[in-house]
Amino acid sequence: MPLAVITSSVSIAAGVFSVIATLLSLILGYLSQRDKLQETQKQQFHTVLESDDLIYVGNYLDLVIGNFNIYEYATDSKVSETVDTYLEKLRLFVGTDAEVEQQIREIGTPPKIEVSPEHPAGIDSVLKEIASGEIWNALARLRRHIEITLRELAKAKGIFLERPSSAGYLLNMLLQREVIPKDAFSNLKYAITICNKAIHGFEVNMGEAKEATFHADVGLRRLKERPT
């Protein structure tokens, strides 16, 4: 057999091996992609974003969403849909630099309040968490607490919400519909802005966090005391 044919045959055999390796990697890639999608479905995003635990939210991004590679994201519509939906929800949850900075500029000086010596359980647990140094998670919990209260209020007033709305959106909507008084609005607006600031990752000190919690407490009390 001529040398050229032997050499060519060897190079072709090497080519065939690489084809087999590629086919194997395609199959393994498909299986791993399927596993990753199953993992995202196991831990649904709404459960993640409603957990109040920012570490859990970050973990999901880092360990579940972060596992996909760019090839999968760009070529598989299921993967891109899953990633885009989560990122959109996360962006709404965390807010962007520009949005949070604008909110901080808008609130200005907080209204004066009288701090009550006793607090309801929800507020008390937030204050305890702040005292232990867990400001980030404590303010996420506080914002969730306000959001739930406002959502219940909207429901009680027969206001239909088409989609899950943020605490800030609910607050503005309830003021526009004259469901909540202006003083309660100011207190809650301040509390929500500080919560947003912390959740976004900007620095919030313990004093600021406590003040936001007191404002939330006063605002929520004013909601309860309002004439129905």
Partner: protein, 122 residues
């Protein structure tokens, strides 16, 4: 590009690597060149083998059995298909590059959150 994961982009955002978008572009350019060269080698090798067989066949000095020729042609076809597959894969590289940049800028919008999260889990 299977080597670049979404987590790598998160790491780039958190580390605030200067000129990260240009670095991502460079990565894709290297990847493009590498895949292009491999596919060219493969297609070149199979083309030269086809030419060798054809020339030898027409000059009637091919000392191979029919089954050997068929086997070589089959292998060559298989390998050239792989070369074409690699070239075809390059078509989606532009889309992957744009997707990587899009995600990178999305993550930049929530950078303080990502930094705070990474600090908390340390």
């Amino acid at each position: 590009m299977r080597e670049l994961s979404i987590k790598d982009l998160l790491d780039l955002v958190v580390a605030e690597v200067p000129d990260a978008a240009t670095r991502i572009q460079k990565m894709f350019e290297w990847h493009f060149e590498r895949v292009k060269v491999i596919s060219q080698w493969i297609l070149g090798a199979t083309a030269s083998l086809f030419i060798y067989i054809l020339v030898a066949f027409f000059k009637a000095d091919l000392e191979l059995e029919a089954w050997q020729i068929i086997l070589i042609v089959l292998f060559a076809l298989c390998t050239s298909t792989y070369g074409i597959y690699l070239l075809w894969q390059l078509r989606s590289l532009n889309r992957q590059f744009i997707a990587a940049l899009k995600l990178f800028y999305e993550f930049k919008k929530i950078r303080p959150f990502l930094i705070r999260y990474r600090e908390e889990i340390k």
